[in-house]
Amino acid sequence: MQVVRHRYDAVIVGAGGAGLMAALHLAQAGIPTAVLSKLYPTRSHTGTAQGGIGAALGNMEEDHWEWHAFDTIKGSDYLADQDAVEIMCREAIDCVYFLEHMGLPFDRTPEGKIMQRRFGGHTNNRTGEPVRRACHAADRTGHMILQTLYQQCIRYGVQFFNEFFLTDLLLTGDPLETGTRCCGVVALEMQTGVLHVFHAKAVLFATGGFGRIYKVTSNAHTLTGDGCAVAWRRGIPLEDMEFYQFHPTGIYKLGVLLSEAARGEGAYLLNGLGERFMARYAPKLMELAPRDLVSRAMYLEIREGRGVNGKDYLHLDVRHLPKEVLEKKLPDITEFARIYLGVDPEKEPVPVQPTAHYAMGGIPTNVDGQVVVDEKNTPLVGFYAAGECACVSVHGANRLGTNSLVDILVFGRRAALHMARFCRDADFAPLPENPEAETMEHINRLLNNNDGRWRVGKIRRELQEVMMDKASVLRTGDELRECLDKVRDLKAQYAQVRLDDRHSAFNLDLIEALELGYLLDCAEALVASALNRTESRGAHYREDFPKRDDANWLKHTLAYRKGDDIVFRYKPVVITKYPPQERKY
């Protein structure tokens, strides 16, 4: 197998919003930077974000970043680190102006300012009423962020390695020992099957989430937890993996997202009786309550037999909204309903169900994007993470809508600025001997497994089904234990996976097999962490422990892989000025 070596000061893996924001800032700082993406950059999943970027510009009405911070912390069920949230909400404002200056075509107010709209959990802190904070470009805000950042990366000459698939992270030793540094990555060039070793002073993972562990998900086929799994296998912990967000309004069975922007513009959620059932769960914010509450309410309505026609879906109703709002502000989601369901939202309510959407947990970092490996926040020198694969933690137990975009922008930039300083001062740490050896052995084993019994698609389908059934919105200890057993059975089967394709050029069979390995690791970490946390908080709802338990569980989970086992350690939550209270909406 051929191996090519490269040397760049900074290497970024992933070309979504976080990766490109970082790449642009590193390029502007003059740091030699390579961006690796398993897709063409414009295919990244940031492009599917619809509703908006939360930032307290106050263009429509009074607003303050401190209100945004409080809403985020309350939305997180008090698990977010408050120092990080304050930084995020303050810098969100500047990031939005930065994007505007870079060319992002925001919708505009009559006087020409950036237009903002309401979104779940974002409030005027004095009145408790929804506030217009989400800066948007129709319902394709993410598309415009991705395009704008990619375009400016072209302008600044960022070096892209498209369709390069991450297989390994290179460290000089054990990540938990002092003095260990990150020194590069290994990647498979998908078009040719050639392996590449990238030697770097600093590496940023911006690899996105792992929604494909679930059967019904808004996530792209390519969101398979690559960065999280690769880091985990190298001994780096994963933080708060039990907190996985289900978005309330996925298209029934498909999971394709119908943006919260619809409810921000006034859409209703109706049960089979035609009731706006959110009145029972969040009388003040109704449909604009945070996602964990709305998704849980939907599961409960369905369980109690109030799904539409007794089935496992509910209705999103936009029929009362002006036609112009649908055409101008929600054109894409109107089209999704027409194409995939054959439903015209102007005339009929749209069948929806909660869809797996966002990992609050991930690779632990500090506010400069540095990966930290223990409860004392000790950085692993030279290794950074940002975006959905990272856990700062600004989302705690439940992320507010729009805050994923805020997160990628603020922490993509902060990571880049720290990396730029580091790259100016630091030398290259030496690569390990034969840095590609482990990847090569793994790939050869997959390609030459002539006794293999199971197809990738079969194992993946069973994983997605068991995760959906036993580790989604409503959880119990018994079901989580069954789920963990099943995931481990599937891991055993994975050792006997059989590929049809043994060739080099664009071997999707091999790529999907590697991705399945990553999915299994992410799923195992998620389920084990969920079983371990015996309380309910945010998106993690245990029917056998239905209350939040601050006395024992106001802390972050750190899950470490130790051989075939998982061990847990814990990290305190940073509280600045918002003491935990009961969450009411």
Binding site: L39, Y40, T42, R43, S44, H45, G47, T48, L57, V96, Y97, E100, H101, G103, P105, F106, D107, R108, T109, P110, E111, G112, K113, I114, A137, A138, R140, H143, Q147, T148, Q151, Q152, I154, R155, Q191, A220, H221, T222, L254, V256, D332, F336, I339, Y340, G342, R455, V456, G457, K458, R461, L499, D500, D501, H503, A505, F506, N507, L508, D509, E512
Partner: protein, 239 residues
Amino acid sequence: MEVIVRILRFDPEKDGKPHWQEFRVDAEPNDRVLDLLHIIRDEHDGTLAFRRSCGHGICGSDAMVINGKNRLACKTLVKDLRQPITIEPLRGFRVIKDLVVDMEPFFAKYRRVMPYLINDEPPPEKERYQSPEERERFDDTTKCILCACCTTGCPVFWVNGEFLGPAAFVAAHRFVFDSRDRAAAERLQILAEYGGVFNCHMAFNCVDACPRGINVTKAILELRQAILAGSVSLSPKER
């Protein structure tokens, strides 16, 4: 229901030239063509290669020729197609494997038109102002997802290697008519040269093929008018 799918296969490591292969797939009328491809991969033949990501028409990965027309596999439903369903890679690019083509020449032409906002005036502390009318002026061309359905469906592109193609024109339009941009003249200069907007024959294939419903021909006409006018007017009343 049983669906018959015929796919143009090519593996550079064993095939001298592309060949058709037929699959009989158990599928639902509401399934996407992308679902058919996944069923084939998961249950029939894991060697089939194609690109896909978001699965709902936003990322632009899975453009291919389906029953003779350029479409996104994730936005085309089985019930809307005549059988057997034929699937081929996009035309005009080197085939890497099966339905995967080399997109680099496409992106090279995109980069030619300077597809990024250029404005070196010091920005204000907050946002630059832009009226809703000025914003609306280029709204249609912001929708492009760079899937290449338009360019690879264009008869001029098939015969003229210099032709920048409709997707590059759409990208240029998005910036030429943005009131905040200052490089319209440079872009229009590029578009006025050989391979630019005057080489378009108005076949309208691009409009037909665009999965985002962009009126590509209108954008091309507006670029021509801007070149002929010698300057670009951003006044709302001229819309």
